[in-house]
């Protein structure tokens, strides 16, 4: 057994995703041996993020709290940007997906982060996601188009179909990003589902 503070550190690290008991122990001892300022820089970065960053009250992206904001009442940079199209919403699973879409420079609308995807076997249903909040935005923000941009895997598909079934009742256009072959890849390596969907989503050549 270790001294209580060491054991506490190991336990806390072990609660992080992807960190098993062995890794938790290794990291804990790395931190113990590291110079104080290195370890404290990490602890400072963690407290700063918890202090300054919260979820955007509109789209649930990460949002930096501006001075004077009430905690949990701030909006993210994208929602605050007046040049963006406010009638189009791109629905993603996680904030990091926003970064991926933004890198394309093809999209100028707003976002909505579900903070996960439906995963029946893990027991993650719509109630654990920001679905109700999305529905509330359609009317309140006069949204015209919802682009469902969930991952092209089984959880993302389930989420997309579920959202489509709810949004069907509302006066809004619902689209899903196309899935197909990765540019730069070889056709012969494509799996049947990907190739089948790529065929369905074919475009006329000009």
């Amino acid at each position: 057994m270790y001294a209580a503070p060491v054991q506490d550190l190991i336990d806390e690290l072990g609660r992080l995703p992807g960190i098993g008991p062995k890794s938790a122990q290794r990291i804990a001892f790395y931190l113990l041996k590291a110079p104080s300022e290195d370890a404290l820089r990490l602890s400072h970065a963690i407290s700063l993020v918890k202090e300054r960053i919260s979820w955007c009250r509109r789209c649930f992206n990460v949002s930096e709290t501006a001075t004077g904001d009430v905690a949990g009442q701030s909006e993210c940079e994208i929602c605050r940007d007046d040049r963006r199209d406010k009638t189009t919403v791109c629905v993603v699973e996680e904030p990091r997906d926003i970064v991926a879409v933004e890198k394309t420079r093809e999209y100028r609308g707003r976002y909505h982060v579900l903070q996960g995807a439906i995963n029946p076997i893990e027991g993650v249903g719509p109630d654990q996601l920001r679905v109700r909040e999305l529905l509330a935005r359609i009317d309140a923000e006069a949204i015209v188009e919802v682009i469902v941009c969930t991952n092209p895997n089984i959880e993302g598909d389930a989420t997309a179909m579920y959202l489509a079934s709810l949004l069907r009742a509302l006066p809004v256009k619902v689209t899903r990003i196309a899935s197909g072959l990765p540019v730069g890849g070889d056709l012969e390596y494509a799996d049947e589902l990907t190739l089948g969907r790529a065929l369905e989503g074919r475009r006329e050549l000009a």
């Binding site: 992807g18 029946p120 076997i121 027991g123 092209p152 598909d157 079934s165």
Partner: protein, 244 residues
């Protein structure tokens, strides 16, 4: 490291590290197998969608040293496209996969269970019609295979024959249907017991043609309840979209 070949249905997967996944398969020859699929979360992974539940795949594994093997090659046998395109079918598939995942033993060959799962997924992939009883029938068959087939012709507790007494309740922990004197568990209608008898007594194909009704719902609820009793845990997939 040695290599081996098998066929298997992907039951579930979870993320590992930056771009990998652990995939759990129900295989034909090696029971439940947990294996790492390296790089599968990258858009250009050679695995593509082949290792996503509920795909049935032909596999080449590297035998790992611990409890995890490594997927070396995968070719689809059936990707059950109609299941992927329909939320109801997808939920049904997940409900069956979850029960298999909870029941099957790692590295204990069970070819019958694998065959039964593939057959059920094929039936589910029929675009023309979807039986409200498929998951329930699958649960009952699975329970029977596990040696927990319910007693329906007599009271499971006092052995009074169904011809003499009314069987009014059902409790799998007691063995099946129960008479008024022995009743516990859930109340059950004679119609539900009769339908259950057809599912387990060679009338499965006909039972799967039954349209949605109060009786099919009763048999389905009874199946979920009994499976949960058997597994001693709540099934997740069946309930996730219940109130959706």
């Amino acid at each position: 490291m040695s290599l081996y070949r098998d066929q298997g249905v992907a039951l579930r997967h979870y993320k590992l590290g930056e771009a990998d996944r652990i995939v759990v398969f129900m295989t034909a020859g090696h029971g439940k197998v947990r294996a790492v699929a390296k790089g599968i979360r990258k858009t250009k992974s050679r695995f593509g969608s082949r290792l996503e539940p509920p795909t049935n795949v032909s596999l080449l594994f590297y035998e790992g040293r611990g409890e995890l093997d490594i997927v070396s090659q995968a070719e689809s046998i059936d990707h059950f496209r109609p299941i992927r395109d329909d939320l109801g079918r997808m939920t049904d598939a997940m409900s069956m996969l979850e029960a298999v995942d909870q029941t099957a033993q790692e590295r204990q060959p069970d070819a019958r269970l694998y065959q039964m799962l593939v057959a059920a997924l094929r039936t589910l992939a029929d675009r023309e019609r979807r039986s409200p009883l498929l998951v329930a029938a699958f649960y009952w068959k699975l329970l029977s295979m596990e040696g927990f087939g319910p007693i329906l012709e007599q009271c499971a507790s006092c052995s009074a024959p169904a011809s003499g007494v009314a069987l009014v309740a059902f409790d799998l922990t007691q063995g099946g249907a129960l008479c008024r004197d022995c009743r516990q568990g859930l109340p059950v209608s004679p119609e539900a017991l009769q339908l259950l008898g057809r599912i387990l007594g060679g009338g499965l194909a006909g039972a799967l043609q039954e349209p949605d009704s109060a009786v099919t719902s009763e048999v389905a609820a009874l199946a979920t309840h009994s499976m949960e009793q058997h597994l001693e845990r709540r099934l997740r997939a069946v309930h996730v979209l219940d109130h959706g």
